[in-house]
């Protein structure tokens, strides 16, 4: 049987909100709702930065494959379309969920450095092949950082691609 895989925005390592038919909204609140409440603000000070609550994403197997899933990856198109003064950090945090927060996340890299030619591996901690339903793969932590040079207004959406091989 062909597997069905969904992408979840996590509230715990094994729980969250299904975003496979929705979107992820960076904001100044720890929730998964895509709305205009608690928007990111632009700092006045040139050396100050405003950080969103972190977002953590993980793959979920809703229908088990007939064999197994492997080669878990995540990447972008490589172009930051959010504009000047807005960055997104990304990090593989293994299989350990930590509470979402606004302080700068450690160990992150620019999300847009992860491309189809150099994707982020999501099977460095979770190394076992996926044969059953449930959450699988490493967690991806994301955080938006806004500088004083950013422009106000709603941003153009960016896309993150998750991929896996079904053998």
């Amino acid at each position: 049987m062909t597997s069905t895989v969904e992408i979840y925005e996590l509230t715990a390592s094994m729980a969250g909100t299904d975003k496979t038919s929705g979107a992820v909204r960076f904001k100044l609140a720890d929730d998964q709702t895509v709305d205009s409440n608690n928007p990111m603000t632009i700092p006045k000070n040139g050396v100050d930065y405003r950080r969103s609550f972190t977002k953590q994403l993980r793959m979920y197997c809703a229908t088990a494959p007939s064999a197994y899933l492997e080669n878990l990856r995540m990447y972008t198109d490589g172009a930051n379309g959010f504009g000047t003064g807005i960055a997104v950090n990304a990090s593989n945090v293994g299989a350990v969920f930590s509470a979402n927060a606004t302080p700068a996340m450690s160990g992150g890299s620019d999300l847009f450095t992860y491309t189809s030619a150099a994707p982020l591996n999501l099977d460095t901690s979770h190394t076992a092949s996926v044969v059953a339903t449930g959450f699988f793969g490493d967690l991806v932590k994301l955080q938006m950082v806004v500088a004083s040079t950013a422009s106000s207004g709603r941003l153009t959406a960016e896309t993150v691609t998750f991929s896996f091989d079904e053998v």
Partner: protein
């Protein structure tokens, strides 16, 4: 749902959707579209290693909706064969080339 389904032909001439036997028995892998178009990979003068479907799930960071794309792949010791499920485009690449959409 994939637009192409896979059929595996073995040395004895039989065809199967899933084959769990010896990979050396596989002589042809055929992808058949819903409208009957076929792409066949003949395993000759090369060694079949494995086949898989690579699935791409896209998530927006704004208001975009998720979409799904599938790439079928056959790996041999000499080349890889890729087939885009949505368009029927095919690619033959070096044996270790990983294609992502």
């Amino acid at each position: 749902m994939d637009r192409y389904k896979c059929s595996i032909t073995t040395k004895d001439g039989s065809t199967k959707d899933i084959y769990r036997g010896n990979s050396e028995d596989i002589v042809m892998i055929t992808y058949i579209s819903m409208i009957g178009m076929k792409h066949s990979v003949i395993i000759k003068d090369c060694i079949f290693i494995k086949k898989f479907r690579r699935v791409f799930t896209k998530v927006g960071t704004g208001n975009t909706k998720q979409s799904l794309e599938v790439l079928h792949c056959v790996i041999t010791d000499k080349y890889r064969f890729y087939l885009k499920d949505r368009t029927g485009e095919t690619f033959v690449t070096p044996k270790d080339y990983d294609m992502y959409l």
